[in-house]
C-alpha cells in the first residue's frame, strides 16, 4: 500500500500510539556508559543536585537488555569501539543514544591516534550534547529533547517512521 494509506491516522490508533510514546518517554532507563570526565558530571546529574530520576530515569541499568537510552559520556578510544558496538547491539529495540560531551560527539580536543573521532561513526546518535563536560542541566535538556523526539515516534507505523527518519 502506498504512503497515502497512512496519511490519516485512525483516531484510535493514534491515541494508542501517543500512549505508548508517553510511556516510553516518561521512563527512559539510562545505561550510564560513563568513561571519562562526563561520567562524573552524569553522576552529578543522577545525584541529588539535579536528580534525573524526576524524569523516570531513576533505575540506571548496566545490563543492555533492560536499558532504553545509552548515555555515552566520555571519550571512546579505538580500543573501546568493539565493546561499545556490542553493547549497542545487545540493547532491546526502541533504543536511543545520547552522545554527551565533546569527546563523544566528535573526539573533542583529543585528535590523536587512539581516540575515535565521534561515536556516530560506530553507532547512530539521537542527541548530541556539546560541552566539556556539559552542565547537568545541559544533560537534562538533552533528555528533554530526546523526550520530544520520542513523542514524534511512530511505533505502530514502521514505514512512516522510516519516512520520517529519511526526511
Amino acid at each position: 500500500m502506498g504512503f497515502q494509506a497512512y496519511v490519516g491516522q485512525g483516531w484510535v490508533l493514534s491515541k494508542l500510539e501517543q500512549l505508548i510514546n508517553w510511556g516510553r518517554s516518561r521512563s527512559p532507563w539510562p545505561l550510564p556508559y560513563g568513561t571519562a570526565c562526563c561520567g562524573i558530571e552524569m553522576m552529578a546529574a543522577l545525584a541529588s543536585g539535579y536528580d534525573m530520576a524526576r524524569f523516570g530515569a531513576e533505575r540506571p541499568s548496566f545490563s543492555p537488555r533492560q536499558a532504553d537510552v545509552l548515555i555515552e559520556a566520555g571519550t571512546i578510544t579505538k580500543k573501546m569501539v568493539p565493546v561499545l558496538r556490542r553493547i549497542y547491539d545487545q540493547m532491546a529495540e526502541p533504543k536511543w543514544v545520547i552522545a554527551m560531551g565533546a569527546c563523544a560527539c566528535s573526539g573533542g580536543v583529543f585528535r590523536t591516534y587512539s581516540t575515535l573521532q565521534g561515536i556516530d561513526q560506530v553507532i547512530p546518535v539521537d542527541v548530541y550534547v556539546p560541552g566539556c563536560p556539559p552542565r547537568p542541566e545541559g544533560l537534562i535538556y538533552a533528555l528533554l529533547q530526546l523526550m520530544e523526539k520520542i513523542k514524534q515516534d511512530h511505533p505502530l507505523y514502521p514505514q512512516l517512521a522510516e519516512l520520517k527518519k529519511g526526511v
Binding site: G49, G107, V129, G131, E137, G138
Partner: protein, 207 residues
C-alpha cells in the same frame, strides 16, 4: 608474600548488627521527614538540595564559560577584525575565521579596517576553556551563559557568526553580560616601572 592477617575486634554494640542498623535507620528517617515535609510545599524549589531544572533554574556564576558571543562595541560596531588569534590559541583547533576587507560603505558596521566575513566554531569540538577570549587582542569574543546546547544533528551544533551575534543581543537584553576582565596584577610591574623610570637601558625584560 605474607599478607598481614587482620583479626577483627568488635565492641558489643558493633557485634550485634541491629543497634547500628537502627541508628542508621534513625538518621535516614530524619532525612526522609525533612524532605517529605519540604516536598509538600508549593513552588518549584521545594526540596532545598534539589534544583528541578526546567522550572527552577539554578543561579550560575557571572563568569560561567558557556556558548560563545561575538561582542559589539558601544556604537554597535563589530569588534572582531578577523585576525585569527583565537583560532591559533584554541587547544581543540575548532575555530575557523575568514578575514575580509571592509568595503567603503560599511565603516559604521565594523570597528576595524578588516572584519571577519565568516566565523565558525565547531561546538562539538570546543572544550569551553576560554583561551580564545584571553587571546583576542580586541576583546571581540567572550563565553556567554548558554548551556542548553543539545541538538539532534551535528550540523545544528556549528556556531556561525549570526548565531553568536544573536546570542550577544539576547544576553545584552537580559543584562547578564560578563563584567570586563580585571587585568591580573603582574609581579614585576612595580620593579618594571621603577626600572623604566630610572631609564635603565639594560632592563632585564627585553621582550
Amino acid at each position: 608474600m605474607a599478607r598481614p592477617v587482620v583479626e577483627k575486634k568488635y565492641s558489643f554494640t558493633e557485634r550485634i548488627y541491629l543497634y547500628e542498623i537502627v541508628k542508621g535507620l534513625g538518621l535516614t528517617w530524619k532525612h526522609f521527614v525533612k524532605n517529605f515535609t519540604a516536598s509538600l510545599k508549593r513552588g518549584p524549589h521545594t526540596v532545598p538540595t534539589c534544583w528541578q531544572y526546567p522550572e527552577d533554574r539554578r543561579e550560575i556564576s557571572p563568569i560561567f564559560r558557556g556558548e560563545h558571543l561575538l561582542l559589539l562595541d558601544e556604537q554597535g560596531r563589530e569588534k572582531c577584525v578577523g585576525c585569527g588569534m583565537c583560532a591559533r590559541a584554541c587547544p581543540a583547533k575548532c575555530i575557523t575565521v575568514k578575514r575580509g576587507k571592509v568595503a567603503e560603505g560599511e565603516e559604521s558596521r565594523y570597528a576595524g579596517k578588516t572584519y571577519c566575513e565568516e566565523f565558525q566554531i565547531d561546538l562539538l569540538r570546543c572544550i569551553f576553556c576560554g583561551f580564545c577570549e584571553e587571546a583576542c587582542p580586541k576583546g571581540a569574543i567572550a563565553l556567554g551563559k548558554g548551556y542548553e546546547l543539545a541538538r539532534y544533528t551535528p550540523g545544528e551544533c556549528q556556531l556561525t557568526k549570526e548565531k553568536m551575534l544573536a546570542n550577544y543581543r539576547r544576553e545584552k537584553e537580559l543584562g547578564i553580560l560578563k563584567p570586563p576582565r580585571k587585568p591580573v596584577p603582574v609581579a614585576g610591574a612595580a620593579k618594571e616601572a621603577a626600572a623604566k623610570a630610572k631609564g635603565a637601558d639594560e632592563g632585564k625584560a627585553k621582550d
